[in-house]
Symmetry: C2
Subunit: 193 residues, 2 copies
C-alpha cells in the first residue's frame, strides 16, 4: 500500500476513535510504521493530515450511504433505508465505516469551533453533501416529483433526525429504535408531504 494512504488510514482511525487533540503525531507514526520525515514529506502539517482524513471519511461515508439508498423509490423507502442503515452502523455492523463513535465531522467540528478554519469548513461541506444526497434521492420519487418545497422540507427533516439519532447514540452509548418503526415513519413522512 502507498505510504500516503497508509498514513491517512491510520490517522483517520485514531482521530475518529479517540478525538483529534487526543492523538499525537508520534502515535500515528508508530502505528503506521512510518518515519516522521515521510509524514512531513506528504503533509505540511498535522492540520493538513486532518483535512485528508476528513476528505477520505467524507468519500467513504457518502459512498456507503449512496449504496444504502440505491434501490429506494418512495420517500418511505428512503427514510426506512436511511434509519436502518444508521442503526446498523451504530450497532457496529458496518465494516466499511469501522467501529461506531458518532459522526466524525460533528466530533471534529466540536474540536475546531472557529467557523472559518479549513477543518470546520470541511465538516460543514460534508453535511451539505449528505443533505444533497437525500434531496436527490427524494426528488426522484414519484410522490415528490415537481414538489420542490416539500422535497427540501423532507430532506431537511430526515437530516435533522439523522444527526439527532447519531448524537444520541454517541452520548448515551445506546441505539434508539424509535425511527425504525415503519408505522411512525410512514406517519412522519405523510405529515411532511
Amino acid at each position: 500500500m502507498d505510504k500516503r494512504t497508509q498514513i491517512i488510514n491510520t490517522a483517520l482511525s485514531a482521530f475518529y476513535l479517540r478525538g483529534i487533540h487526543a492523538v499525537g503525531i508520534n502515535e500515528i507514526l508508530k502505528e503506521a510504521g512510518v518515519a516522521k520525515k515521510t509524514l512531513y514529506n506528504h503533509f505540511v502539517s498535522k492540520d493538513e493530515l486532518i483535512c485528508a482524513c476528513l476528505e477520505l471519511r467524507d468519500q467513504r461515508f457518502n459512498q456507503w450511504l449512496y449504496e444504502q439508498l440505491e434501490n429506494c423509490n418512495t420517500p418511505f423507502e428512503v427514510a426506512y433505508a436511511l434509519f436502518s442503515a444508521l442503526s446498523a452502523w451504530i450497532d457496529n455492523k458496518v465494516s466499511e465505516l469501522g467501529p461506531f463513535n458518532g459522526c466524525f465531522f460533528i466530533n471534529t467540528a466540536a474540536e475546531f469551533p472557529h467557523s472559518e478554519h479549513p477543518i470546520a469548513m470541511l465538516c460543514k461541506a460534508h453535511k451539505e453533501s449528505v443533505l444533497q444526497l437525500l434531496f436527490d434521492k427524494l426528488s426522484h420519487t414519484e410522490q415528490l416529483k415537481g414538489q420542490l418545497e416539500k422535497t427540501i422540507q423532507l430532506a431537511q427533516l430526515l437530516m435533522t433526525l439523522k444527526e439527532g439519532m447519531i448524537c444520541q447514540a454517541r452520548v448515551t452509548h445506546s441505539s434508539n429504535t424509535l425511527l425504525q418503526d415503519p408505522v411512525l415513519l410512514r406517519q412522519l413522512i405523510a405529515s411532511s408531504i
Copy 2:
C-alpha cells in the same frame, strides 16, 4: 464572588467556547485572576474541574428549559416552545446560556470517547435528565394522559429532533427554521399520537 464559583464560571465559558483539550489550566487561571494553588485547593485535577463545569451547565440549561416550557399544556405547545427556545439560543438571544456553540455535553462527549469515564457519564446523565423533563411535561397534558407508550415515543422524537437541530446549527453555523413551522409541527405531533 466566591473563588471557587469564579473559577468554574471562567472555565465553563472557555471550555464551552473553545473545547476542553484546547484550553489549558494556565489560561483559565489568568482569565479568572486566580493563583494556581487556589485552583488546586478546590479541585484535585483538571478532570474534576471539568466535572464541576458540566454540573453547572446541566443545572443552568435544565433550569432555562424548564422555564421555557412552564406554561405549556398541550404536546403542540411543548414542542413549539421547545424549538422556539432552541432557535433563540442558536441565534444568541439567550443570555443565560451565553454565546451559542452547540451542546456542551455533546461537544465534551466527543472529546472523551471512553464510556466509563466520569466526564462521559455526566454527559449521558444530562441527556437523560432533559429527556425526563420533556417526558414529565408531555405526560401532564390532557392529550397524553395515561398513554405511557405514546408519551415516551413523542418525548424521544422531540429529543432526537432537538439534538439534530443543535448539531446542525453547530456544524453548519446557521439556524434551521424548519421546526418552527407550526403547521409541520402539528402534523408531526399528530402523527406520533
